[in-house]
Structures are given as C-alpha cells and as structure tokens.
C-alpha cells in the first residue's frame, strides 16, 4: 500500500513537473510561424529604396566683421544672415549586397537673402572667374538673392565584392585617426568655411571622385582619383578684406586631376596606422599681387631718382600643385585611452622657399590622447602639435622705406600680410586642438560638444582661436534642437555667431 502511494506520488510529481516544463516551452516564441512570411520579405528586400532626410528651421545671429562704416549694403555691425529653413532629402538604395546608391540633396530658403552673384567663385564648373571688389564694399541690397537654393551634397554609387569596394560620384572622403578643427592627415577634400551650422560635418564639401578600396588581412588600400579640383569655400569677408580681384582655378583637364592613395590598417589589436599620399592642389589659394604702373622720376637737385609707382593693385588668388604625404598612428593604451598621431608634409613647388609669394612647404603634426569611450557617453581628444615652415623666410621690414621701395615692383609687395594669410608669419606655430562630446539624460537626450583649436607663435604672444561649442537636445524620435556658438579669429578673419537649428528627421 505504502509503495503504491509512493509510486502514485512519484507519477504525480513527474506529471506536474512535466506540465510546468511543457508550459514554459509552449510559451516560447515560434520563429517558424513567421518563416514563410520572412522568406517572402527577404525576396522583396533584394532591391530596396528608402527616403530619409530632415526639415530644419535655422536662425543665425552674427557679428559682421566688415562693419557698417563705408558699407552701403550692410547697415549694422550685427546681422541675421540665416533665417529660414532647410529640407534635406536622402535617397538610398541597395541592390542585393553588391550595389548601393546614395544621394543627399539640400534645399534651403534663407529669408535674410545671400549675395550670390559671385557664385561662380565656388562653383566647380567655373574654371576662371573674375569678380572685382574695391576696398570699399561696392555691393548693395539689390544683390541679395532670396530664392531657395538647391545643393547636391553627395550622390554616389557603391559596388561591392568580397574584398573590393568601389565608390564613384560626389562623395565625402575622410582620412585619418583624429577629427576636429585641425586634422593634419585629413587632406583629401576641402572645407566650406562659409557654413553657418552647429553640425561641424556640414563644413565638408563633397568632391567628384572614383574611390577604389581593397580590403585584405585587416588592411585597406585606397586609391582615389578626383578629376575635378574643388577648392575650399572662402568666406566673403575674407576675400573682401584682402581686396581680392580674382580667383583662378585649374582648368578641367585630365592633367589637372588629383590623385591620392592610402594604406591603413591594424597591426594586432593595439596598433593602427595610415600612410597616405595626395598629389593635388592646395585647397587654400596662393596670392599673386600685380602692380601695373610706371616709374616716375623724382629730382632732388641734380640727382634724379626713378621710383616705381603702381597705378592699380590686382590681387589674384590661384591654386598651387602640392605633394602631401600623410601619417596616422593610433596606439591603444589600456582599455580606455589611445594615443593618436596625425601628420602631413605639404610640399609646394617653392620647396626652398625662394619666392615670397608662393607658400613654403610645411610639416604639420598633432599628437595626443583620445578616449572614444562611447559607452561612457564621452568622446574626448586633446592634441598638441606644431606647423613648421620649411626654409622659412622672415617677412621684410615694412617700416624700412628703402626696403619697401626697393621691393615695389610688378611682382612683389611687402609680404607680411601675405605670409599672415598663409599662416607662415613665424618659423613654426604651436597648435592645440581638442574635441569633447558628452551625452546626458535618459535616452542620451542632451548632448554637449565642443571643438576647438588654438594657434600661437613661438613666443606665445599672439593667439588665434576657433571654438565651436553646442548643445543638442532630443525631444523625441527624430526631433531635436541645437544651440551653439562660433567664436573664431584666425589669420586676420573673425567670426562670432549664435546658431539655432531645430530639426525633424524622418
């Protein structure tokens, strides 16, 4: 009887546990149920297209460095150069896993209007354009154009195979281990210094290029051909300040293309390197000053002194060929830090620095610690470095009248201003560049970012600075507002702006 009870009890126990076991198994999700549906879905997904983008309201207040005096166009030292909206559409497509298409087109309406009748200055289709300024601003309000503008930021096609990727079209190419206001090895594409946005990456200008990459054993070999040189976009103020009379660009010919190659990769888990070379044009122009005029004789008793008197000053900007090797290193230091090096040498045709009006070659480096601790929601990079001028030529003494007069001919001017514009006033310049980003609150809703670069001469007397701090607050999915400030004074140009951008991304 007792053994019977025990047997029944054991069976009950087994039964109960069996019930519990099958119950929890029965509660499992059944991937099989959706399998057929998923298969069908996958088939549909072989070729996909998606449309994304954002609509954004913009507001910028800035201090106008040209000023109100002598300026019929601008009436106040403070202005609102950007009030309006931006609509960006991004069309993306994938064909199986072998081809990819991306296009980003931006439409902007600026109620403040913009002076655009010198658009060809910057337009890649312009090969040689002249726009004249005088020392007094000679544009007026009728030149302000308020029509919406359409800009193609990027449009490219990717073709993939197992170890090769090929991207062709207008694209943004970023090189190097560090990023920020100064990144010496990031030399391939130019910058747009006219951008009035908190999003630093919008300062990058896409270039038309063919970009072939080979991937092998954790290494990458990249070969780039840029048939159409695109220079850096200069702010109007900068051009105005210098009394620039023309900007000439290389003509669209095969011989004027740019070529770049870079080998980069990982050696073990702790060491990264990048060796690059660009044969292209300097993105920032050189200056050629022409002083057509005649010699006039000044008589001092019996003695007659012929003095060259310029009738007019032409300041032409043009672009020089450069050869730019680059170097990047990234060395992991423990779990949290890595040490970065980014360097370039910019060799111009005036390697020996014999011609004052052509930039001398330079060697630039930045090095410092970086913590990309994304999981700590902080990105921090702090780099110190120098820019050395090879075969540095000191500027001549402008206060010496004999020296001044002796150099006044058709091809030379006192070069202090020119060297200042080149950033080559000193044999070397100290640089301190940093980048910090930190997220706060639930959902990383609040983001603070600051990018900065400080420059000073060897005696630390005069400082140039570029500082971009901003806050970004995300209200909910895709809705965010950014408020930032630009404080910059570099090479004689300054920019002070407050920028607000409220965006809905879709």
């Amino acid at each position: 009887m007792r053994s019977k009870s025990l047997a029944i009890f054991t069976c009950m126990m087994l039964f109960c546990t069996g019930v519990a076991y099958s119950q929890i198994d029965n509660l499992a999700d059944k991937p099989e149920a959706g399998k057929q549906k998923e298969k069908g879905k996958d088939k549909d997904k072989d070729v996909t297209f998606s449309l994304h983008g954002f609509a954004q309201a913009n507001f910028v207040a800035s201090r106008n460095s040209i000023g109100a005096s002598g300026n019929r166009w601008r009436t106040s030292r403070y202005e609102f150069p950007r009030i309006g909206g931006t609509l960006r559409l991004e069309l993306e497509g994938n064909a199986y896993d072998v081809a990819h298409f991306f296009s980003a087109v931006e439409m902007e309406y600026n109620a403040a209007g913009e002076k655009k009748n010198f658009l060809k200055f910057y337009n890649p289709n312009a090969f040689l354009q002249y726009t004249y300024f005088t020392y007094n601003a000679d544009f007026d309000r009728s030149e302000l154009i308020k029509n919406p503008s359409i800009t193609v930021r990027e449009t490219y096609v990717d073709l993939y195979s197992k170890h090769v990727t090929f991207r062709v079209g207008q694209q943004i190419i970023a090189w190097g281990e560090i990023e920020g206001v100064e990144a010496p090895s990031d030399v391939v594409i130019p910058w747009d210094f006219t951008t009035k946005s908190n999003y630093f990456e919008y300062s990058r200008i896409g270039v038309t290029a063919a970009n072939l990459s080979f991937h092998f054993a954790k290494q990458q070999l990249q070969l780039i051909w840029i048939p159409l040189f695109q220079p850096t976009k200069l702010p109007l103020e900068s051009v105005y300040h210098r009394g620039v009379t023309s900007i000439s660009r290389p003509e669209f010919e095969v011989r004027n293309g740019e070529y770049a190659a870079r080998l980069s990769g990982n050696l073990g888990n702790s060491f990264r390197y990048g060796l690059g070379f660009l044969y292209g044009y300097d993105d920032l122009p050189d200056t050629r000053v022409l002083l057509p005029g005649s010699y006039q004789n000044y008589s001092f008793g019996d003695f007659t002194l012929p003095v060259y008197t310029p009738a007019v000053v032409f300041t032409e900007l043009y672009y020089n060929r450069v050869y730019v090797p680059t170097l990047d290193l990234g060395i992991a230091m423990g779990d949290v830090l890595s040490w970065k090096v980014s360097a370039n040498a910019n060799f111009t045709e005036d390697f020996w620095g014999k011609r004052d009006l052509i930039k001398n070659p330079t060697v630039t480096y930045l090095t410092g610690p970086e913590s990309t601790n994304m999981f700590a929601k902080i990105y921090l990079g702090l780099y110190v470095g120098q820019q050395w001028v090879i075969n540095y030529t000191p500027p001549t003494n402008d206060s010496n009248p004999i020296e001044l007069v002796s150099r006044l001919d058709r091809f030379k001017l006192p070069n202090k201003q020119t060297l200042k514009g080149y950033g080559q006033l000193n044999p070397y310049t100290w640089m301190l560049s940093g980048n910090m980003q930190r997220s706060f609150l639930q959902g990383d809703a609040l983001d603070f970012q600051v990018r900065f670069a400080l420059y000073t001469d060897p005696k630390l007397w005069r400082w140039d600075y570029v500082v971009y701090p901003y806050f970004l607050y995300k209200f909910t999915n895709g809705v965010s507002s950014a408020l930032g400030v630009v404080i910059a004074n570099r090479r004689g140009d300054d920019r002070y702006m407050i920028i607000s951008e409220t965006r809905y991304s879709f």
Partner: protein, 282 residues
Amino acid sequence: MGFLKIFLSILFVFTASLAALPETAVEMGTRLAKMNDDRPVFERVKARINLIINNSSGEVRFTKVLIMAAYTENMNSPVNYCERYITYFMAPADDQGNAYLSYHYKNQSDVKWAYLKGIRRAKKVTGADKKLSFFGSDFTNGEMGKPNFLEWKYKYLGDDKVTFRGNVFDCYMIESLPKTQSIMNENGCGRRVSYVEKKTLLTLRLDYYDENLTKIKEMRLVSFTTKNNINGQKVYYETGLEMRNLKTGTRTELRFSDVKVESEANIRTDIFTEQYLIQKWW
C-alpha cells in the same frame, strides 16, 4: 591488518558521510550559476532589435531599431571562445546609418568599433563603462552582456515562484555578490538576485541593487525562443526583456524580432570586420 581494516572502514564511512552531506547554500548557488552560465548558445543569430525607452509617465520617448548579427567563434572551446557582433542602426532617423562592431573574448579585453555617419569614420571604441546606460536606456552596458562568472560569488537563497506570461513557475533564487570592491564600482551593482526557472535555467526575473544594497532596478523576461543549435543542443534564447528603474520610474523594453538562427540566419563569418560597418551585410 585488523587495524588497517578498521582504519579503512572508518575512512570509507567518513568519506561517504561527507559526500552525503547536503550542499551548502554557497555551493548550490555557485553550481546553479555555473549551469546557467554554461547554457548552450547559438553559433549564428540574426535579429532586429527594438530598444523602446519609456519615460516615467509610461510614454514612449525614444525607439531605437537595430539590425544585429552575432557569430560565436569556437563555441565549443572555453579558451578561444569569441562572440562577434555587428549592428546597424535603422532608426531613429538621426541615428540611421551608424553601425557598431564588437568582439567579446572570453580571456582578453573586448574590441569594439563604431562607425558614426556624421564623421564618416570607423572609430575604435576604447573603454566600456559597465555601469553607464546602454544608448540612454535603463539597461547598463554591463547588463547587456553575460556577466563574467568568475567576478561574482553566488548563494542559493531558496525557491520562489515567478509569473511569466500568466503562468507561475518554480525558480531558484540565486544571489550574486561582487567579489571585490572594484568589481562592484565598475558595475555600479552591489547585489543581484536572479530567479532562475528550474527546468530551462532561463532567468525570469533579476533584481539589481546599488552599491548601498538598495534595490534599484527589476528586469523581467518578456519572451524567449527555443531551437536546437548546430551541435543539436536545445537553446533557450531571450528575445524580450523589460527593465524597470525603481528610482526614476522609467522603463525600457528590449525586443528581438525576425530572429533567425544558425543556417537560417545565413550569416557569413567574414562580415565582422571594419569594412562591413559601411556596407550592407543583412
């Protein structure tokens, strides 16, 4: 001779009595935690992950959608074992295009890469603060992966019942305490109590306590799936978790959908490289 016999008999009885002694709570807790840690896994998984972040009023504040592929290399070797993950952000729109790659090794530091579309660069991510929140959610980075079994000491606290999808299940209550102060500080956690379902060893509920041993969070299993892995072992795979923050009143749901495993996942093993951070692999 007689003495030896007596000695051997005593030894035998003593050893047998030792073996027959019931397990201590610590031994049992450690054994159960080890069994939980050794649960079979899939070699390949592909899934869509929804991270739904709710505010204290219960409203959805952010939804992040990722597509994820995972590959466990050398899954039968406890020494060379390496979990590889690659994820691509599908939503929200301002995160779309960002991608993330990580190698989680058993015996060495993790290796992680992030591609941020804004800066157009794949960056090596150094450091992983385990106690900070995972993409702004109520989960911490440390809670997203398997905790290191050797860093914690365990104790069986007894049995309890936990409700899962309207059914009540018997569970082992296992307490985990950090072995050192630094482990506690690193994880921001002074105590965990897991409710492990007795048959499947699925953790149905997990309570988190802060460094002052105050209960701060409660995680519950919302859903799971089960299938055999390539070795023919039955795998219980969590596909839905919910974390409630008792301090802030916020809540995050982590939901896997379109889960495909092993051959169905159709994942190539060479996609876990920097190259595929910017290239379609799914």
